[in-house]
């Protein structure tokens, strides 16, 4: 039994049909990359898993238990954490307050020291307002918020978007460390190269359908697939 299973999930936004019979699985300790051009439905998939959107039909199972239709706060307490594309840093709260609020309902939260050890930059800025952080620092903060909850599954939505190459390098390193530590991650990215550098398996979405499932190696071996679904 996989840690997370999606079976024939259809999601609507109003009555706009975004996901068509999407099925996928994520095993414990894997890193799964979800690729596709934008509009393909990658963010919608993550939001459906997190409960921000309720699936119109199909089932989603975490540890074998169905979670479709549950509100996000319940799913968060089951160990899933979404790091959204728009980051959602609370601009009026300090870095430390952002971390503390994330830790509030976690059953076994990390200590602040452990977080600061992993993200020294955040330690330096612990008293700064969230709104004054740079893009890269905000991204670190949102990942740190997921970690402080000791989330079992982390859903990363376009973590590298809009960031300078050096920061992306930093974040990829952190993501690889987390993967190496055995955390389960689903990463949605348009930056295919970065995502494939630490993923175990890959799904590709196109126009709301799953069109490919494989590994980074098999994808590299199939450049036409890459080009037709991801390229131009």
């Amino acid at each position: 039994m996989s840690l997370l299973e999606l079976e024939a999930v259809n999601t609507f936004y109003g009555d706009s049909h975004i996901l068509f019979d999407v099925s996928m699985r994520v095993e414990q300790n894997e890193v799964v990359a979800l690729l596709g051009r934008n509009g393909a439905g990658k963010t919608t998939t993550l939001r459906t898993i997190m409960g921000v959107l309720a699936p119109g039909s199909g089932t989603i199972r975490l540890d074998g238990k169905p979670i479709g239709g549950l509100p996000p706060y319940v799913i968060a307490r089951m160990g899933m954490q979404l790091v959204p594309e728009e980051r959602g840093v609370f601009g009026g709260l300090t870095v430390e307050e952002n971390l503390r609020i994330a830790a509030l309902t976690a059953p076994a939260p990390w200590g602040l020291d452990r977080i600061y050890a992993m993200f020294p930059r955040l330690a330096e800025r612990r008293r700064s307002r969230g709104g004054s952080l740079s893009g890269g620092e905000q991204q670190m903060l949102t990942i740190a918020r997921a970690l402080i909850r000791d989330a079992r599954i982390i859903l990363l939505d376009e973590p590298f978007e809009g960031l300078a190459p050096l920061i992306v390098r930093d974040l990829v390193r952190i993501s690889r460390e987390l993967a190496a530590q055995g955390r389960t991650i689903i990463v949605v990215e348009q930056n295919v190269v970065a995502a494939l550098s630490f993923a175990d398996r890959v799904y590709i979405l196109n126009n709301g359908h799953v069109v490919y499932e494989g590994t980074p190696d098999s994808l590299h071996a199939n450049p036409e697939v890459m080009k037709s679904h991801l390229g131009v």
């Binding site: 609507f12 934008n38 509009g39 992306v168 390193r173 970065a194 080009k227 390229g231």
Partner: protein, 601 residues
């Protein structure tokens, strides 16, 4: 053909009322007051029921009209009551113009609070600083009754039944006028503004002007009602300005039915009748207002349509169930759509941008983008996420003001004009998410769009029927045929299937008769089958006009586009024919992994 049944029914009811209700314990004076509230309510219903603006300050205009009229009469400035009423009404309208000009810039709670503030200001102004004119807490007593005729044979309208007839006549006149307003193109646009303000503006209607006009109209009705109150009571009371008056108006309208014109009157009847009659019952005398308050809360939670609203809904459902199928839409040939209002230079590109940029603080969403789109061509804009496509699109219409650079339509600069104005000049856009007027029928949706360029951004055409402009109706028929929505023409938009809604969305942009049509992800959320049909549709539409499309569906892009522009991180990465783009290595890299620099160490 416009039905005059409601007007006739009302006239009959007004004729019958004194004879019927006098036996139910209502005095002529009470009936007169109900009608006075009704006139105040008609204006308020146009403002709230039709345009969606909740004002808590109508008392300001009610009081202004009343006190101006009363002052002019009691201090013998004007002899004729009719003239004084007219002056009072106009004074209220002028005050409404001032307050409205300030208030309609804001929406929702802010609008409510601004009107509240002015209502209170007026109340306190009446109470003290202006008390020399208004009599302060005492009001103005001794308002004379109106006279019909001249000189010694003039007939004085005394209190009691004659006064009732006068008010009934005025009420009927106000109702007829208001109904014409609601059935005019002006009225249709008010409904559009209430349903979806942003879309109405983007179609080319100058929304602030419509809101201001309605605010003034409501103030005029209020002013007339205020003047009539003074005449009715022979006394102008200071509590005409009170918050309680504005509040009572709101409660009465909700109970009677918002958006029915007659609702406020029914609500007033309920309020006043309950007040006068419950008070006679000793144990629960003082509870009448509590009962009303509870009814009000329950209505807001549950029913929301009020008494008249519910009756109308039942009537409508019955009518709809037995309605004959709609007549087939005949559009013999596809008529060319509206003539350009911008004089096109012969060889100028339909749309071009020069160094267009948008910066948000340090973030450069779009940077230095220049390209040109040939007339009558289909042009696609693509790019990975964060490329700046939607920002660029919004700048093409001037929905978003560029930080730098210009957009030219047929060689004329349109930057800085705003989306309403550019829509009037001939650019239309269909949105990625459906922005429809869901409670209106398909035909009504299209009419709002088609009226935009035919009538210009604003017109006070309050007296003609909305469907009386032949060219507009032909336009609607053409679009219905093109978008294959003919059979659904009289169906409310919220009932349509998703694919149909999408077609309506595109149809609305088409109905404005644009020369340049921007389509933002037209295929979003569609099933494979729907995509095929829509692609054919887009090709059809593209024959007579210039299309600019943003899409992620690459198959569609390469099938439809004659030329493709690729954006990457806000800048122009490549431009050319579909074949050129497919062969372009930089474009492939951009899509697949952000070029070399993003490769991890």
């Amino acid at each position: 053909m416009r039905s005059v049944v409601p007007e006739l029914v009302l006239a009959a009811a007004l004729l019958a009322t004194p004879f019927v209700f006098i036996h139910l314990g209502a005095s002529y004076d009470l009936m007169g007051r109900v009608l006075d509230w009704g006139i105040l309510g008609i204006g308020f219903d146009l403002l709230f029921g039709w345009t969606g603006l909740l004002s808590f300050g109508q008392a300001a205009f009610f009081g202004t009209g009343g006190f101006v009229s009363a002052y002019l009469l009691v201090y013998h400035v004007i002899g004729s009551v009719w003239l004084a009423l007219a002056v009072g009404t106009i004074a209220a309208g002028v005050f409404g113009l001032i307050v409205g000009w300030l208030a309609v810039r804001r929406i929702g709670i802010y609008f409510a609070m601004i009107t509240l503030a002015f209502g209170q200001m007026s109340f306190f102004l009446e109470n003290s600083p202006l008390s020399a004119y208004t009599g302060g807490e005492n009001g103005i007593p001794g308002v004379p009754v109106p006279r019909i005729g001249f000189g010694s044979t003039a007939y004085a309208i005394t209190t009691g039944l004659p006064m009732y007839w006068m008010l009934a006549a005025m009420f009927l006149a106000c109702f007829i006028l208001a109904r014409r307003i609601t059935q005019s193109p002006f009225g249709v646009i008010l409904r559009a503004i209430k349903e979806n303000t942003a879309r109405a503006a983007m179609l080319g209607h100058a929304v602030p002007r419509y809101k201001l006009a309605t605010f003034v109209i409501a103030a005029l009705f209020a002013g007339l009602a205020g003047g009539l109150l003074g005449v009715l009571q022979s006394f102008m009371p200071p509590d005409a300005f009170a918050l309680d008056t504005s509040g009572q108006l709101v409660v009465q309208t909700v109970i009677g039915g918002v958006g029915t014109l007659i609702g406020p009157t029914v609500g007033a009847a309920v309020w006043l009748w309950l007040r006068d009659n419950l008070q006679l019952i000793p144990e629960i005398g003082a509870l009448w207002k509590l009962v009303l308050g509870i009814v009000f809360v329950v209505l807001v939670i549950v029913l929301r349509r009020g008494i008249c609203g519910e009756i109308r809904e039942i009537w409508r459902r019955r009518a709809h169930a037995s309605a004959p199928p709609p007549a087939p839409v005949i559009a013999a040939e596809v008529l060319p759509l509206a003539a350009p209002l911008v004089r096109a230079r012969q060889d100028a590109p339909a749309l071009e941008t020069h160094g267009l940029a948008k910066h948000y603080g340090g973030l450069r969403a779009v940077d230095g983008v220049s390209f040109a789109i040939r007339s009558n061509s289909i042009h696609a804009v693509i790019g990975p996420n964060g490329a700046g496509k939607s920002t660029l699109f919004k700048m093409l219409l001037d929905e978003v003001r560029p930080t730098e650079g210009d957009v030219l339509l047929h060689g004329s600069r349109i930057t800085g004009l705003g989306a309403t104005r550019t829509a009037q000049l001939g650019i239309g856009k269909s949105n990625q998410l459906n922005h429809l007027f869901l409670d209106l029928t398909v035909r009504e949706n299209l009419r709002i769009a088609a009226l935009a360029r035919r009538r210009g951004p604003f017109r006070l055409d309050v007296l003609r029927p909305a469907d009386s402009i032949a060219e507009v109706e032909r336009q609607i028929d053409t679009v219905l045929a093109t978008m294959d929505l003919g059979e659904r023409a009289n169906v409310p938009a919220h009932i349509l299937a998703y694919g149909e809604k999408r077609r309506l969305e595109i149809g609305m942009a088409l109905a404005t008769g644009p020369h340049v049509l921007l389509l933002d992800e037209p295929l979003a959320g569609m099933s494979p089958a729907e995509r095929t049909t829509t692609r054919a549709l887009i090709r059809d539409i593209g024959r007579d006009r210039t299309l600019v499309i943003v899409e992620h569906d690459m198959d569609a892009v390469f099938e439809l586009a004659e030329r493709i522009t690729v954006l990457y991180e806000g800048s122009l990465l490549a431009e050319g024919s579909p074949e050129e783009i497919q062969r372009n290595q930089a474009v492939q890299d951009a899509y697949l992994g952000g070029l070399r620099e993003h490769e991890p160490a």
